[in-house]
């Protein structure tokens, strides 16, 4: 674990410093590159005049104090940029995770219940389409249909463009508005959140529902299901009390695993929905070759991924009595 953290940091450093292009060009622009004084000053300012090893240790040292460097594009500390944008992404990813695992579990359970019947085939198709459709396209089409054609929802963004975002408490607009008992704001935030979260959640519905179906079928063929029936449990009880609990344990792993998909999806979904989160920040950084920002986002993404896996392991251990928590 500590090894992986160091590995993530080192990998991000190596990638961003093995760049083909000169980062100075993206800092200064072509014209100023001719002026040696400005170039030297910029080099000193961004630490580019030191050796690579020195730069590495400075970077790692700064990281320990939470300093991810300064974004070339926004001229702000990357850590600050990320912190202000993190809640938006977390809110989106959490909502998508809820929708995705909710739909996945329901579809998977019903598909196992009605195995090889029409619903099973429908659920397979829905799941596979979800994991095949590019979110940056489904988001676009759904946004066009629902907001332009049907006028059911407002456009992109976390709130209506005319609404002034409220002071942040948790940074989750839905939770903040509830904390303030501002139901109008809550409705608006929820309405803006619903479509991107659905688009993103649909993408992970497939892997979850297919796994739930498989483990449901596996569990239903176990002896303890037969034993439950033998002591007089009805089908509903067998299904939900005995089978579902067991089937959901392996599902926990896949829900943690689907976090990688959600991050990938979030990067693209945020771009489509003008969502002011880490994903759209990463895309802007990549488009502008803003290396400190790219490096920062990559590191944070990697650490978040590690953290999710850790949480998954802990939740798994808590959910499965056969594993003792140490």
């Amino acid at each position: 674990m500590p090894f992986l953290v160091l590995g993530i940091v080192t990998a991000a450093f190596v990638i961003s410093h093995s760049t083909q292009g000169d980062p100075l060009v993206s800092i200064l622009g072509d014209r100023q590159m001719d002026n040696p004084e400005i170039v030297a000053a910029a080099k000193a300012r961004w630490g580019l005049d030191r050796s690579l090893t020195e730069q590495y240790f400075i970077y790692v040292g700064n990281l320990l104090t939470g300093d991810l460097g300064t974004s070339i594009r926004t001229k702000q500390p990357v850590s600050q940029d990320i912190l202000t944008r993190l809640p938006a992404t977390l809110e989106l990813v959490c909502a998508a995770m809820l929708i995705g695992s909710g739909m996945g579990i329901v579809l998977g359970v019903l598909a196992a219940r009605f195995r090889d019947r029409a619903f099973d085939h429908f659920s397979r198709l829905f799941a596979l389409v979800g994991s095949s459709v590019p979110v940056f396209w489904s988001g676009l089409i759904l946004l066009f249909v629902l907001s332009v054609k049907l006028n059911w929802i407002d456009g992109p963004g976390r709130l209506d463009s005319r609404t002034i975002p409220p002071e942040s408490i948790t940074g989750f607009l839905t939770i903040d508005s509830l904390l303030r008992s501002d139901l109008a704001m809550f409705g608006e935030a929820l309405q803006h959140l619903a479509l991107p979260a659905f688009v993103l959640g649909w993408a992970v519905t497939g892997i979850i529902s297919r796994l739930v179906r498989a483990s449901m079928l596996d569990v239903l063929s176990q002896d303890y299901i037969l034993a439950a029936r033998a002591r007089g449990a009805r089908e509903g009880r067998v299904f939900f009390h005995h089978a579902l609990r067991n089937a959901l344990i392996p599902t926990l792993t896949i829900i943690g695993f689907s976090f990688a998909y959600l991050i990938t999806g979030a990067v693209l979904t945020e771009t489509i929905f003008s969502w002011p989160g880490i994903g759209s920040y990463a895309v802007d950084a990549a488009r502008n070759l803003d290396y400190p920002a790219i490096m920062g986002v990559t590191i944070v993404g990697g650490l978040a991924f590690l953290f999710t896996n850790l949480v998954t392991d802990v939740v798994y251990a808590v959910a499965d009595p056969r594993i003792s928590v140490q």
């Binding site: 992986l4 596979l128 396209w137 990067v267 990549a286």
Partner: protein, 280 residues
């Protein structure tokens, strides 16, 4: 016992050829055929302006025209050449690199094994798109660099698979016999271990192509892959996103990505059912 006079040969569908696999194969083969033959029957020139700008779909242009008056359907069909080519190249490279490293790691063991597998662990601890974005941005935007970036992201999958295969085959008697007989390591690897290990790799690689198509299109959509005027699907959807109200610009390439990835996913899902009969 009486034998029937004529033995009628009836086609018995093999177990792996389930209905989802057939659906998937139809979609994938259709796209491969389109990619191979499109120069012969292309309706229009994919990169020339062939009509009025931003026209909604009509009889002449089934998927409409884009901001430069190019035919969206034509460009979509041509786009398959880029998507399929890049995906196949990426997967083949990732398989070659990953399998070589994984085989060496599994066979050599010790420090080599540790180094290769730790590298794989680190690579896999990044969300794929972020790592691919960082690598592409670092190498400089472009379709080739995007392909390299995806290989960087993908090789560890096969390295792990291959290493596991080698470790499980290594203990088999005939391999130990070959080693004992003094066969050089490379020969043991190529003659005794690889022939037993390739099938799960092949199955996985086939199922991964769809994901690579998606990732490559995503990088182009972000602006790190193909650049205009290349008729690449992700790039075309990005143009469509900029012309939000001309919905048809993104419709063609979006449906194209959906159908081809769906094809690979159908195959993958069916094959998984076959490999794990408890699921089916």
């Amino acid at each position: 016992m009486t034998m029937p006079l004529t033995v009628r040969k009836r086609f018995v569908r093999p177990a792996w050829l389930a209905t989802p696999v057939i659906i998937g194969m139809v979609l994938v083969v259709a796209w491969i055929l389109i990619a191979l033959t499109i120069p012969l029957w292309s309706p229009y020139d994919p990169i020339a302006s062939v009509g009025r700008r931003l026209m909604a779909p009509d009889a002449a242009h089934w998927f409409g025209t884009d901001a430069l008056g190019r035919d969206v359907l034509t460009r979509t069909l041509w786009g398959s050449r880029f998507s399929l080519a890049i995906s196949v190249i990426v997967i083949v490279s990732a398989v070659l690199i990953g399998c070589t490293l994984g085989a060496v790691a599994g066979y050599a063991g010790g420090i080599v094994d540790s180094i290769v597998m730790r590298l794989a662990d680190i690579t896999l601890s990044f969300p794929p798109i972020l790592l691919a974005m960082a690598v592409t941005a670092s190498l400089g935007p472009g379709l080739q660099n995007a392909a390299v970036a995806i290989v960087v992201v993908w090789w560890p999958v096969y390295a792990r698979l291959m290493r596991a295969q080698v470790l499980s085959v290594k203990g088999k008697e005939h391999v130990e016999a070959a080693v004992a007989a003094g066969a050089p390591p490379l020969r043991v690897l190529t003659h005794h271990i690889l022939p037993l290990s390739w099938s799960p790799i092949l199955v996985n690689a086939t199922m991964d192509i769809g994901q690579v198509v998606l990732l490559a299109a995503s990088l182009s959509f972000i602006g790190l892959g193909a650049s205009p005027p290349t008729p690449e699907w992700g790039q075309m959807i990005s143009e469509g996103a900029n012309r939000f109200y001309n919905w048809w610009i993104a419709m063609g390439p979006g449906l194209a990505i959906l159908t081809i990835v769906l094809g690979f996913n159908f195959i993958g899902d069916g094959v998984r059912d076959w490999l794990d009969p408890r699921r089916a």
